[in-house]
C-alpha cells in the first residue's frame, strides 16, 4: 500500500472526524510523531473552577511529601507496567539525569555507572576517549545562549594532543553530525558499548535527522577506545572550521611529577588535584627542599579537581590543593568558597614550613578550576610570579559522590573567589605575559637570575 497516500488519507479522515478532537487531551503539546503535524488545541477545554474532581479532593493533598510520590510512582511502574521494556538500571540512570537537569545548572551532572568508571579514572590519572577535559561554554546563537562542547584542557600524550586539539576549541560536528546545543540528558539504552558509532538513536533521527546531542557527543569523546572520530572544530582566529580526525585510546598521565631543571631549580608539574598529587608533592618536597633554589609549579593544562567525601578520598582535590599551598606559602586565606551570596567560607591555609626559595607558576588557558585557585593562592600568599596567559575561568567547586547504583553525582557546590573576594570566572591574569610554550624557559631564567642576585646580596 502506498504509505504516503495512506498517511494523507488518514490525515484527512482525522480532520473530518470532528469527534476525534474532543479527546485530544494534550493537543496543545504538538506531536513528536510527525514532523509536519500541526499544533492543535481545543477551545472548549479547561473550565476553570469546575475542574476539581470532588472524588479526588477527598484524598489528594498537594503537600504530600515528594518522596512518597516518588515511591508510589516507582511501585506502579514495577507492578503495573505491562511491557518488557523496563530496565531498572536504565530507569535509575535516566531518573538521576532528569533530576539533576531539573536544577537547570549546567555545572552539576549525574553520571551513570559506566560514565562514573570513566570519570573516576580520569579524576585519578587514566583517561579514556580522546584524552581531553571538556567544558560547556554558552555561546549566543541567534537570541538564545546555547551550550557548546569546548575543550578545556588536553591531556599530555593523549590522542587529542597528537591530533592538535587545543584549549578553547569548540567542537561543532562529530562524524558529520552537528552537535545539538541542549543540556537535555541523553543516555544510550544498554549503556554505550563497542559498536557505538556516534549515530543518533532512531527516535532522535526523526527529530534531528543529522544531529547528535551534546551529552551523547561528550560520552563518545570521553569514553571508549579505538574509535575514529572526524571532528569539525571552531578555533578563535581561524577563518573556517578545522577538520580534525582523532582516534580514542586510553591515556595514562600522572597527576603530578617532579623533575630537576638547571641546578637548584625544580619543576613540579600538576595536571590534576587528587591524592596522588598530595603524595607526590609531599615526597618531592620532603626529599628535595634542602637543594631547591627555586621551584616552578607548572599548572598549564591542569584541569583542577573535585571535592569529595570519605566515600572517595583519593579523588579529593581540595585536600591536595590545601596541602600544596601549606607547603609553599606562609599560610593565610588562599581563596573564598561562596556557597551563595550570603554564605562565604574562607579557604584557610595552615603553613607546613615556609620555603626559603623563590616560586614561579606557569599558567595557560587550560589552567582551570582548583588550578586557578592554586595559582592565585601561590601569588597572594607565596609571592609567586605567574607566567603565561590568562587562565580558563572555571570558577566552580564541584562535589563528587558515588551512589548505591554505581552512578555518581557531581554537584556544583560553591563559586570560587580570590582571597580578596574577586570572582574567578574571568580567569587569573599572569604577572608576566608569555606564550605558554616559552613560559618554562623564561621561568628558569627568572628564578636563576633571582637566585644569583640573592646570593650576591648575601
Amino acid at each position: 500500500m502506498n504509505e504516503k497516500l495512506r498517511q494523507t488519507v488518514a490525515a484527512i479522515t482525522i480532520l473530518g472526524a470532528i469527534g476525534v478532537c474532543f479527546v485530544l487531551g494534550q493537543a496543545m503539546r504538538g506531536s513528536v510523531h510527525s514532523a509536519n503535524a500541526s499544533k492543535r488545541a481545543r477551545l472548549f477545554a479547561n473550565a476553570g473552577s469546575s475542574l476539581a474532581d470532588p472524588e479526588r479532593a477527598d484524598f489528594a493533598d498537594a503537600n504530600t511529601d515528594p518522596s512518597e510520590i516518588f515511591d508510589e510512582a516507582w511501585e506502579r511502574i514495577q507492578h503495573d507496567f505491562v511491557l518488557d521494556s523496563m530496565e531498572a538500571e536504565y530507569l535509575t540512570e535516566l531518573m538521576l539525569a532528569r533530576l539533576i537537569a531539573g536544577t537547570r545548572d549546567s555545572a552539576s551532572r549525574a553520571y551513570t555507572a559506566k560514565q562514573n568508571r570513566t570519570r573516576r579514572a580520569a579524576l585519578l590519572d587514566c583517561y579514556d576517549g580522546i584524552g581531553a577535559n571538556f567544558a560547556l561554554l554558552h555561546t549566543k546563537q541567534g537570541d538564545v545562549a546555547r551550550p557548546v562542547l569546548t575543550i578545556q584542557s588536553v591531556v599530555a600524550g593523549s590522542p587529542a594532543a597528537s591530533a592538535g586539539l587545543k584549549t578553547g576549541d569548540r567542537i561543532r560536528e562529530i562524524n558529520g553530525r552537528w552537535i545539538i546545543g541542549t543540556l537535555e540528558p541523553d543516555i544510550a539504552r544498554n549503556v554505550p558499548n563497542d559498536d557505538e558509532t556516534g549515530a543518533a538513536k532512531p527516535d532522535e533521527q526523526s527529530k534531528f535527522p543529522k544531529g547528535v546531542t551534546l551529552a551523547a557527543a561528550r560520552d563518545l569523546l570521553s569514553m571508549g577506545k579505538d574509535k575514529i572520530y572526524k571532528l569539525s572544530v571552531e578555533r578563535t582566529g581561524e577563518p573556517a572550521p578545522l577538520e580534525i580526525e582523532v582516534r580514542t585510546a586510553q591515556t595514562q598521565s600522572p597527576a603530578a611529577s617532579f623533575q630537576w631543571q638547571e641546578e637548584g631549580i625544580g619543576l613540579l608539574t600538576i595536571r590534576r588535584f587528587n591524592l596522588f598529587t598530595h603524595d607526590l608533592v609531599e615526597k618531592a618536597l620532603t626529599e628535595h627542599t634542602s637543594k631547591l633554589h627555586g621551584l616552578i609549579v607548572d599548572l598549564r593544562q591542569c584541569s583542577g579537581g573535585v571535592q569529595s567525601g570519605t566515600f572517595y578520598p583519593e579523588g579529593n582535590g581540595v585536600l591536595a590543593l590545601t596541602h600544596l599551598l601549606g607547603k609553599l606559602t606562609p599560610g593565610g586565606t588562599a581563596a573564598i568558597w561562596e556557597r551563595h551570596k550570603r554564605q562565604r567560607e574562607p579557604l584557610q591555609i595552615e603553613s607546613k614550613g615556609k620555603p626559603n626559595y623563590s616560586l614561579a607558576v606557569l599558567i595557560d588557558k587550560g589552567t582551570a578550576n582548583l588550578a586557578e585557585v592554586a595559582a592565585s593562592g601561590l601569588r597572594d600568599l607565596g609571592r609567586a610570579k605567574l607566567l603565561g596567559t590568562p587562565t580558563f575561568g572555571d570558577a566552580i567547586l564541584r562535589h563528587y559522590t558515588e551512589l548505591k547504583s554505581g552512578g555518581a553525582l557531581e554537584i556544583a557546590t560553591a563559586h570560587l573567589l580570590t582571597a580578596n573576594g574577586k570572582p574567578m570566572d574571568k580567569g587569573i591574569a599572569p604577572d608576566i605575559s608569555v606564550a605558554p610554550e616559552n613560559a618554562l624557559e623564561l621561568a628558569i631564567k627568572l628564578l636563576a637570575k633571582e637566585f644569583k642576585e640573592r646570593k650576591s646580596a648575601e
Binding site: L24, S38, R42, F59, P66, A73, L99, R339
Partner: protein
C-alpha cells in the same frame, strides 16, 4: 500516606493520531479498586566485574539498583551541597517530578507519561464529554493560528466561522506574536459570556461575537447512503460514556427509515474506553454466534501476567442479522481496533479500508497523592482469535516491526481529494462498502 484503596481506577486508550498531534481520552470507567498494600520494594543487585577491577575500587563494588535509594541520596546531596540556596520544598517537588519523568521516559513507551498537577487538571477537563468554549479547534501553521475545525451545532458554527479562517484579533486586540496557547486562553472563558474573534478569510477581515457555552460534541452520526437499497451509514468518532446511548439512538432512527444493511464507519476513531468497546462490539456481534470464542471480545493481559477475558453483553445486539460493512483506516486505533478485530474474527461483517493504527495497549491512569498522576501501559490486548494487534509475528514468534493493526478484508485506498463526511463521491471506501452490501442484499433477495 493516604490509603490507595480509595482511588478509582481509570482505564483509557490513548487516541494516537500520529498525524494530528494527538493525545488521549480518559474515562471514569472500571470501578476496580486497587489493592492498598504497597508491595515490598524489589532490589536489583548487579555484579560488576569492571568496577571491581578498577584501581582503588570501593569495597562495595557490588552495587544495588534501587531507584528510591538513589533518589533520596540525590535529594539529600543536593540539599547539602548544591550552591543554590533556593532548594525549598517547592523546588524539591519539581525535581521529584523531573525524576519521575526520567523513570517514565526510560520505559520507552510513548503511551506512558507523568502528569504534574497542572497537566492532570487540564486533562480532567477534557474527559467529561462536554466542554466550555465556542466550539472551534485551532491549528498553528507557520506562525499563524488557523481554525482547523468548527464543531457542529456550536456557537462558532452558528455564527459562520469556517475552517481555514485565520485568527487575527481577540476582543479587538491583535494576536500577532502570540502563541496558540495564549490565544486559546484568551478565547476561553465562562459559559454565558461573549468573546469577539476577528479573523481573516482570504484577504477579507471579519469579526464574530461568539457566545461561550457548553459544547456537547456529537459522537455518532448517521445517514441513509443508498435510499434504494436502504443502506445506512453510522459513524462513531469516539468511545466514551455517551457512545452507547447515541449508537442505540442511531440504530432506532435508521431502522425507522427502513435500513436493511449497515455501514459502520470507524475511520479516524482514535479509541477511548475499554468498557465502551465491549458495549459497542456487543451491538454488532450476536452472542453465541461463534461458540468457539465463548463470547470473547478481547483478552487483556496485565502487568501481573494475568489475562482477563471481556465478553459480549446481553441485550446490546442491534443488527438483527443485517449485513454489515466496517470502514477503517490508519486513524482507527485502540478501542476501534478491538471492535474491528472482534467483528472480523466473528465474521460478523466485512472490514473495508486500510490497515488500522496498531495499538493493542491499554493504559491506566493512577492518581498520585499530591494531585499529580501517572499514566502507564498496563495491559496488552488480543482479539478473540488471539491476534496481537501491535505486531505480526514471524515463524519464530518474534515481532515484525511496523506490522500492527487490523488488516481489512478488502483493502481500499482513499483518494487524496476526499473531502470528508459529506463527500460521498470521492469516498472510495464508502462506495466500495455500499457495493458490497448491495451485492449481499441482491444475493439474499435472489435466494429468497
Amino acid at each position: 500516606m493516604k490509603t490507595l484503596g480509595l482511588k478509582t481506577r481509570y482505564l483509557l486508550f490513548p487516541a494516537i493520531c500520529a498525524l494530528c498531534g494527538a493525545s488521549w481520552l480518559v474515562g471514569f470507567a472500571s470501578p476496580d479498586v486497587l489493592s492498598s498494600a504497597h508491595s515490598q520494594r524489589k532490589q536489583y543487585p548487579v555484579e560488576d566485574a569492571a568496577l571491581k577491577s578498577l584501581p582503588n575500587a570501593p569495597d562495595n563494588a557490588k552495587r544495588t539498583i534501587d531507584p528510591p535509594a538513589d533518589y533520596r541520596d540525590a535529594i539529600r546531596l543536593l540539599k547539602a551541597h548544591h550552591y543554590t540556596a533556593t532548594l525549598d520544598p517547592a523546588q524539591i517537588r519539581l525535581l521529584t517530578y523531573e525524576a519521575i519523568r526520567g523513570m517514565v521516559a526510560s520505559l520507552d513507551d510513548p503511551f506512558s507519561s507523568f502528569l504534574d498537577p497542572d497537566d492532570w487538571t487540564q486533562m480532567q477537563a477534557t474527559t467529561r464529554g462536554d466542554f466550555e468554549g465556542v466550539g472551534i479547534i485551532l491549528q498553528s501553521d507557520n506562525g499563524r493560528v488557523r481554525v482547523a475545525e468548527v464543531v457542529e451545532t456550536s456557537p462558532a458554527e452558528k455564527a459562520g466561522v469556517k475552517s481555514g479562517d485565520t485568527i487575527a484579533k481577540v476582543n479587538g486586540q491583535a494576536v500577532t506574536g502570540q502563541s496558540m496557547n495564549e490565544i486559546v486562553r484568551r478565547i476561553k472563558g465562562n459559559p454565558g459570556t461573549k468573546v469577539k474573534v476577528g479573523i481573516w478569510r482570504g484577504a477579507t477581515p471579519l469579526e464574530f461575537s461568539l457566545l461561550r457555552t457548553n459544547v456537547v460534541p456529537p459522537i455518532v452520526k448517521y445517514e441513509i447512503v443508498d435510499a434504494q437499497a436502504r443502506i445506512a451509514r453510522i459513524a462513531l468518532t469516539e468511545f466514551n460514556e455517551r457512545s452507547i446511548e447515541q449508537l442505540f439512538a442511531a440504530f432506532d432512527a435508521v431502522k425507522k427509515q427502513g435500513a436493511r444493511a449497515i455501514i459502520f464507519d470507524l475511520r479516524g476513531n482514535p479509541g477511548g474506553l475499554l468498557d465502551v468497546s465491549i458495549d459497542v462490539a456487543s451491538v454488532f456481534i450476536r452472542r453465541d454466534s461463534r461458540p468457539e470464542f465463548q463470547n470473547a471480545v478481547v483478552f487483556v493481559k496485565e502487568g501481573s501476567g494475568d489475562e482477563a477475558k471481556r465478553v459480549l453483553r446481553s441485550d446490546y445486539y442491534r443488527m438483527d442479522k443485517m449485513p454489515l460493512t466496517v470502514l477503517v483506516n490508519g486513524g482507527s486505533a485502540s478501542a476501534a481496533e478491538i471492535v474491528t478485530a472482534a467483528i472480523q474474527d466473528y465474521g460478523a461483517g466485512t472490514i473495508v479500508g486500510e490497515r488500522t493504527y496498531g495499538k493493542g495497549k491499554v493504559q491506566t491512569l493512577f492518581p498520585l497523592d499530591d494531585t499529580s498522576a501517572l499514566r502507564l501501559t498496563t495491559g496488552l490486548y488480543y482479539s478473540p482469535k488471539h491476534t496481537d494487534i501491535n505486531y505480526r509475528h514471524d515463524a519464530a514468534g518474534r515481532r515484525i516491526a511496523d506490522t500492527g493493526g487490523v488488516l481489512p478484508d478488502v483493502a481500499v485506498t482513499q483518494p487524496p481529494n476526499w473531502g470528508g463526511w459529506s463527500d460521498h463521491k470521492n469516498d472510495a471506501q464508502l462506495q466500495h462498502g455500499i457495493e458490497l452490501l448491495q451485492t449481499k442484499l441482491n444475493d439474499a433477495d435472489t435466494a429468497r
